[in-house]
Amino acid sequence: MSFPIYVIYSAGLFLWTISSIHYDSPLPAAQYGLGQLLILAALTIMFMADKGKKAIPGLVIAAVFCSLGLSIAYRFAGEKASIQLEDVYTGDLISMIVVFFIVYLLIRFTNIYRIKLINLLAGGGLLLAVYGARLTSALTGGSYLYFGGIMIFGWALLAFPFTAAFLISRREDSYVRGNVRSLPWNLMLMLLYVIILFAGCVLCNEFGLILIIGLTATVLFFIRCRNLLTKCFYTISCAGAAVLSAMKVPHVHDRMQIWLHPAAAAGSEDLAGKAESVLYLFRHLGQAGLWGRGIGSLPVSYYPTLNTDHVMVTLINDYSLILAGLVLALSLFFIRWLLTLPDGLCGYDRYLNLTTALLFGFLILVHTASNLGSFLTAGIGFPWISEGSSVNIMLTVLLAVHCGLLGKKAIS
């Protein structure tokens, strides 16, 4: 039933988008149409292949988000119309679909991803990417957000779940100071790994990544750690570090000021421009109303991150508050679906799935809260709706991991 409704939705969205914005060139519409057809084709294949139909709900929701991503990409195409597929969302979509099927098949039918060496390489590779980005940018004068052409955010989304699952699911053979009440060494290693990763993210100024990795690692730590005192100590340390960074790190302090007193920040010379991203929605909510102002009402030249970090603002302002609300409701079902898994899988698979679900959950939560002014602005996009090929492809990998795990049988 969800498949035909999705078809109606995607058709409606396509017609709505292209009737709202007209370009001289037929290229953007053709790219949009092609992308939509690709999504439908991929969904059809999975519909036929997935006998238990357990993967279908999540895939349909992901497809809904991808359709919205296509619409937003079309909406902003005029600003940078390009014939090169790799420059547009449709090109990313092709990569996403190919990667999805490869990863799905690998996870579903093999156990290659569990090989110790591969997981160690993933963990080490992530550290290399994070520190390498900073070093190579210093040498080449390029951006330190990228390494090897891929955003370090994307690298983290890809590698962290495997590394975390590997470390957490290790056998507890020894403990710090030999005391069972203390941290087991595998958990200690995970903490150390996260701290080293943090340091690298601080060097790269990737505040959003610190937030997401920190939140995910915290939840995993709390689930795995048995000692109440250790948990308290960890909480106090994290809170202390957060307060210290809010007071001493200039851009964190600015974000804090903007979050707590956005109207007052707008009056400050230093913060006025940054506060605008928070205040815009409050100012224009009345005009947007429930049905939105119409696709294309906000020019990206006015507000550069409307198709990336502030896509929720675009949804509420242009597409309608009702649609944005439905997207959030679907996100809730998506996270629920991500947390479902067949019983009896091994610890590594379970923690891999949990980490995947946590990453998605925190991405959606932090993006929504930032856009609504309920949290610090964090520079994080919404899965698949925001443009960003590296991140979207890596999120598709995580989706494929979950779909693959859904098809796995219990260990005998």
Binding site: I223, G286, Q287, G289, T340
Partner: protein, 455 residues
Amino acid sequence: MIFYRKKHYRVRVLTAFAAALLASLLLFGLRAADGSCQTPMSVGQVILSAKEYSLGQVQDRNGTVVLQGKGKETVWTDPQVRSSLEPVMGEDPERSMLSRSTILANCPWVFGTEDNRFRLSVLLNPFSSRKGEDVRLTIDAGLQTGIAQAVEASGFDKVCLVVSNYKTGEILGLYGNIMQDTFHPGSTIKPILAASALSIDPDLASYIYNCADKNHNFSTSSGPFRINCIDGTEHGSINMTDAIAYSCNGYFVSLLQQTGSTAMLKELEKWGFDTVVHYPQFSYTDHSFLGSSRQDCDYLLAGIGQANAKITPIGMNMCTNAILNHGQMENPRWISARGRDGRWTAVDGEGSRQVCSREAADQICKMMLAVTEKGTGRSFALPGFAAKTGTAQKSSESGSLSEKCTVWTTGGLTDEKMPYSVTVCLDDVKSTTTSADAGRLARDILKLVLKGEAQ
């Protein structure tokens, strides 16, 4: 005897996620409802908004529609009202929003900036069109028509005109770019100087000046500086009343020297000279007396409304209103209410400040009556009409004096039951045009106001 508690992370993680999402939505909702984050729109945002919305209705003080939007177009109901109001209406937001010197720039809600579409009617009818809210002005459309006709009949090209109620500060009619165009005030600055001088030293009311040839050389730090009265007239021994009535330049230059520049400049700041004053409903070009100059001769020339002395017609009208209103300058306003679908809310713009002592203002007001009774304003006398005329020479691009002038008449009715004032400025006129021409136009306008009042 034994029980293993399964760890349901799914429920806990999902509950925490849902709770956090709900909390962020709640915080957003509370902030939106509270209104504390609803800062004013930027100029660019107002312009964008205007493209999506059709203009709300612009009504005059009696509810007559003057201007309204029909789709993307704006429609004026009366061409004569249009000709008089168009320069200050600002219906094109791209031009008017950059400064607050037009009417609509000060009521952006007509462009739909404060539209709230969280109404049941919009929820049930998503197809409802976007229309800005309405605004009610203090301006009288009937008076505007009369003003436009009178100005057309006068034959003058560059006219600026303001009619207002000096008790409330409401602008009842206007013509020309009264907010931004500045002119030398000429002799119309003299009542302001006199009121300032009396505020500094009330005894100066009995100051006598001997307007003779030898007394027209005024000492400055760079030597004597000569300022004649108009056409070289010598008024002889003259008091303040006659000095205002006959517009004696020497008297007022001498008066400036009596009071001392520091004290005088400080008093003039209260009137808005050489300072920045903000009004809730508009911004205008501030008036200047000395400006950035520190030269004695400029100071003396400013005393007769030349050199760096410059003022807008609205500025002159405000100063005149202060004299007529016992020294209290009411905040001028031209917007009285905003509304939608016939429901109106008053717009705040009231406020006032005391610019000189009551006694000083009342004295000067009486002296201004003498202008129309026996002085330079005899030709346009009206019972109870206290006025002051002024003629200022314009300078050419090279800085030398040109043959063109700016002529003024500013004044109002002293009867507080009819608290109306008018300021007329005719710019770029030849020397054959006198301030009496401006005065006659001012009188005609006042008669229109009185006629409207009687009806």
